[in-house]
């Protein structure tokens, strides 16, 4: 152990001083989920397989492919199962968005979809925490 101790005197401390200095995150990192409406058919496989009940897909008009996705950042466990389940590549876990702390629970509810559709859904359901889609 003496060798380590003496060696350490001539070494830079190993501690990472995040957030003052940032280290690169690996390319495989799974961050915040992103849903793109394009290609989504509303098959609901992602919602069914989500182990954490973090995503809900609200169907406004199935024929016209108008969907809104309600995503709960705080419930998501970033396992990537929804990305695997989606056959149309609508979902990605973004590698660069991973600092997701927020000060209130309401900030964790994220709505994806065309702005007017989101407005419709939010207008129709003012309660922030809806049980199901």
């Amino acid at each position: 152990m003496l060798r380590d101790i003496v060696g350490a005197m001539f070494q830079k401390p190993i501690t990472e001083v995040y957030p003052f200095e940032r280290v690169d995150v690996p390319p495989a990192l799974r961050g915040k989920l992103l849903w793109t409406a394009e290609g989504c058919t509303g098959c609901m496989l992602c919602v069914k397989d989500c182990p954490a009940d973090a995503i809900h897909l609200i169907t406004l008009d199935k024929a016209a492919k108008r969907f809104v996705m309600e995503y709960h950042v705080d419930r998501c466990i970033y396992c990537g199962q929804c990305v695997q389940s989606c056959r149309f590549d609508c979902l990605t876990l973004q590698q660069d968005t991973w600092e997701l702390a927020a000060e209130s629970q309401s900030e964790f509810a994220v709505w994806y979809g065309a702005p007017e559709d989101v407005a419709t859904v939010l207008g129709a359901a003012p309660a922030p925490d809806r049980g199901e889609a």
Binding site: M1, L2, D4, I5, A8, M9, P13, I14, T15, V17
Partner: protein, 301 residues
Amino acid sequence: MLTLLAMLVFPGGLFLIANSVAYEWVDRKVVARLQNRIGPRWFQPFADLLKLLTKEEVIPEGAHVAVFIILPVIALASALTAALTLPVAGLSPVYSYPGDLIVTVYLLSLLTLCLSIAGTNTNSQYGVIGAMRILTQLFAYEAPFLLALLGPAFLTGSWQINEVVAAHGGQWLLFAQPIGFVIAVLSLMGKVELSPFDAPEAETEVVAGALTEYSGRGLALFLLGKKVVLLVGLLLIAALYMGGIANPLDYIVKTLLLLLIITVIQALLARLRIDQTVGVWWHYGVLGIFIQWLWLLVQGT
């Protein structure tokens, strides 16, 4: 008036407290660096102390309230009093008298006694076991500690610290009496319960030992008392074994050097079990100090 100021502010009292807290930072920082970590920033020990002082103090049921409150005060006060006879900051001692060496050593032990009483007073199993261990450890290192400190005094025929120091005239006794020096340093570590002699407060066994039930002000004072005892002990050993302390520079360099030695030992060793601690002291410590004294006696005659 001036004496009062000297006792309460500088070089006694406040200065000692600030100094010992700063030394705690040095200790923590160096250990961290030895372990390849960054360690705390300079104000962390002060912040810890201030935080503890502002926290609520919870007095456990069944504890004797007055004793519970007064013990930390006695502990800190005795540690601070012990410093009066020493050349703090390289200045001459505030209050020096024949036989003050013995008084100082016993004032330092008062903290240990207060800790053990505090442990048994709190009615917690951890506290009781911690107190038992503190006393067991006290019996292990106390006699060698006293003998190690009396070694330098023995040759001069005086038991007054500054006379002893003056009589050696700046000679570094640690080369003449190496065993005594080593034992003095190790027993100081035992006294303030530093690893590897930290069985009394081994957190993975007895949580915080005698201090388990202490919180807020009481805990702050006890911890501060330990820091002051460490500083006073360093100073005492530096004065006796490292050629006295003549000026502030001497003071800083010599005590820091000692602190560094203690820190490295701390980082290097695993905790000893209490029976092993006692074994080590009675096998090697006592034997060592006897050899040292035998040598002194031969030299003296």
